[in-house]
């Protein structure tokens, strides 16, 4: 049997899913889109049931990728029962989707989630009455506490077994007449959703279905258009609103009959936004919260990084000395150890606390608030408020930063925020900035590099926006209420992203390290230096930096390690002037994101975007470094 979870964003659907799925869930990608759904297997009354968590959606019209996934899934896959989750505190809005789902003609159960929150707000819902009115089972739930989950699944199992179909909602008589007329023109066979659902979707103007009907059956397309014109004329409403207003009317009538509002108990939580979104204090809180977040991540990361790196360096030496050789085998083994340690000692110590902290901020509802506060600033570089998230993440590691661009709906916005986020100096580049510039020149010079970085990113953003103008009119997003996240949801979400790093980016990092070791063994480095010589002359850098720059593509902090190896000394002041150090660091900060980031860009945005962003970063790095050099030449 297969059950699907469908609900609007922020209805607690994913909390429910994580409660039953644990950490075994698989993410699947729907062909042609990047919006994914998650599936898992659960045992219900002795049966193994496939449970699919579809992306949150307000309606079933396929006008954005998330909705498209839901509708396409319902059209193409056999589903035994729909579990529709709605938020008890927004009953009317939730029921509009419920009514739409009932039209599909699949067995269905309605779950009213967040009953505790509703109680706090003084909302009482008569589930039994609602069940009688809708003709489908209605069950209460508090997913965060695991209450009502067992009952929900056993009821769904029974409903799926009996294959009892819900009755679709009835609209006003004019609309019903039109639906009937078009329905009669559609053939019955070969459909996975009801004919009525198809007709209603056509009347609502679903882009994909309309296109298909236009191509295959122009007579029906014509009929739909005629009926729409008639309906719009009768009701003097725009076509988009015909069905939506009807559904809202039915949902409102239903809610009126089953919902009672008693006294509300306003708490600090309801007044939190007066402080956190305050025109002045809001930004102070933002700064404080983000500083705390960074401090926590860096503290945790560096606490683990040092002993882990020591361990791997010792292991490396131990292996080399026991092998009694500096031959190819030893180099390969050493390269493997370095690749493993790169992931385990340098990326994961920052990635894990980062993702958990981020998941926490996201689930509590603060990320949306950051987007609200930062929207104006982000528009200056051609993005809107949501793009602040990848930027914040970028300072820890670019890999989760790229993954987080998923929250942007627009392709152009996703590309631009990914491109700019890869230029944000991650923790690995921090080691170069601090190990070279701060150590030899001073902390102020290091701060200068960070500020210069922000300046260059803004200029790049503005230039790209000039060629790829912003076409989204601005921010549209729902502000969730503050909610205390469950540990389970936060860790499960972090685990999904960590797993992607473990199984996709990390192996490539290890292979890359081995290839480098082999290259090193056959002294290919000299050729690299020669090939890069004109480039180093342009930037006024010593020719030995060629290989470290290439190595840096694999792991940014490697460029510093390899610099020591290339010069044969760790006293960089003896071999490089402070100006050269700054130029080198500026270049390292901007050029090609590391291999792990490139792979992530490929997975998230495609191969073409990966090469575009790579080329862009090299270009920006060269220009940024040249500007610094010219500055030094003049002053």
């Amino acid at each position: 049997m297969r059950f699907v979870l469908i609900g609007q964003p922020n209805c607690g659907k994913s909390t429910l899913f994580n409660q039953v799925a644990g950490y075994h869930a698989e993410t699947g990608n729907f062909a042609g889109t990047t919006v994914s759904f998650t599936e898992t297997k659960v045992r219900v009354l002795g049966d193994v049931v496939e449970l699919v968590d579809l992306p949150g959606t307000y309606t079933l019209l396929g006008t954005n990728p998330a909705e498209r996934v839901v509708l396409d899934y319902m059209i193409s896959k056999p589903v035994d029962a729909i579990i529709n989750v709605i938020d008890a505190t927004h009953l009317v809005q939730g029921l509009t989707l419920t009514l739409e789902l009932m039209e599909l003609g699949r067995p269905m159960v309605l779950i009213i989630n967040m009953m505790d929150e509703a109680q706090r707000q003084g909302i009482k819902i008569d589930g039994e009455a609602l069940s009688r009115l809708l003709g489908i089972p209605v069950l209460p739930m508090i997913a965060t506490r695991g209450q009502g989950i067992h009952e929900a699944f056993t009821t769904t199992w029974h409903i799926g077994r009996s294959a009892k179909l819900p009755n679709p909602p009835l609209y006003n008589s004019e609309l019903e007449q039109s639906i009937q007329k078009i329905k009669n023109a559609i053939e019955r066979n070969g459909l996975t959703i009801s004919r009525r659902a198809i007709v209603v979707k056509l009347l609502e103007g679903d882009p994909k279905l309309t296109e298909q009907v236009n191509a295959k059956n122009p007579a029906i397309a014509d009929l739909v258009k005629k009926q729409l014109d008639k309906l719009c004329h009768q009701s003097s409403r725009q076509a988009v609103w015909l069905v939506a207003t009807e559904r809202q009317k039915i949902a409102r009538d239903l809610a009126r009959g089953v919902q009672a509002q008693t006294q509300t108990h306003l708490t600090l939580r309801d007044r939190l936004d007066d402080y956190l979104l305050h025109p002045f204090w809001g930004y102070i809180f933002l700064l404080a919260i983000l500083s705390l977040f960074f401090y926590g991540v860096y503290g945790f990361g560096s606490f683990l990084e040092e002993p882990l790196l020591d361990f791997f360096n010792n292991l490396d030496e131990l292996v080399l000395s026991t092998l009694h050789t500096s031959g190819l085998v030893a180099q390969v083994v050493s390269g493997t150890i370095q690749g493993v340690s790169g992931g385990l000692a340098i990326v994961l110590p920052y990635l894990i606390p980062f993702l958990i902290g981020l998941g926490f901020l996201e689930d509590i509802g603060y990320l949306t608030r950051i987007a609200f506060l930062m929207d104006t600033l982000m528009h200056r570089i051609g993005l809107h408020g949501k793009a602040i998230v990848p930027f914040i993440l970028g300072y820890g590691c670019n890999v989760p930063a790229i993954m987080s661009t998923r929250i942007m709906e627009d392709k152009r916005d996703r590309f631009l925020s990914a491109a700019l986020a890869t230029m944000v100096p991650c923790a690995a580049r921090l080691s170069v900035i601090f190990g070279l510039v701060a150590f030899y020149i001073g902390p102020w010079a290091a701060l200068g590099i960070y500020l210069y970085n922000l300046l260059i990113i803004s200029i790049t953003g503005r230039i790209i926006t000039h060629f790829l103008p912003e076409d989204s009119p601005g921010l549209i997003l729902e502000m969730p209420v503050y909610r205390l996240p469950t540990i389970r949801t936060v860790t499960a979400k972090a685990w999904f992203r960590i797993r992607e790093f473990l199984f996709e980016a990390w192996p490539i990092l290890i292979v890359g390290s081995v290839i480098l070791a082999v290259m090193n063994y056959y002294s290919i480095t000299q050729y690299i230096n020669n090939a890069l010589r004109p480039f180093n002359l342009l930037l006024g850098l010593p020719q030995q930096v060629g290989t470290p720059l290439i190595f840096g593509i694999f792991r940014k902090e490697l460029s510093l390690v390899m610099l020591a190896q290339a010069f044969g000394t760790t006293d960089f002041a003896a071999v490089m002037s402070s100006q050269q150090m700054i130029i080198f660091t500026v270049f390292v900060v901007f050029y090609i994101p590391c291999i792990a980031t490139m792979v992530t860009i490929r997975n998230e945005l495609g191969r073409k975007s990966m090469w575009h962003i790579t080329a862009l970063t090299v270009l920006v790095a060269t220009i940024a470094a040249l500007i610094v050099r010219l500055f030094f030449l003049i002053f």
């Binding site: 006008t63 939506a244 207003t245």
Partner: protein, 74 residues
Amino acid sequence: MTLLQVMNGKWVRVVGVAGGIGMERRLAQLGFLPGNKVRIIRAAPFRGPLLIDIEGREIVLGRGVAARVLVEYI
């Protein structure tokens, strides 16, 4: 009158949405249907986005979007 011209805290009613079918649809999903009650709760500084209360739900709208929501006083 557009939503952008309404004073903070004042309840108004949605009349329509100007700005193409895509915008009409997206806003309709969030409750911007003719007749629904809407209010600006607060605005972000520096001409930032608006926090809107529509039928009990809180929605953030950029000013460009808010300028396309047509409203009337109740």
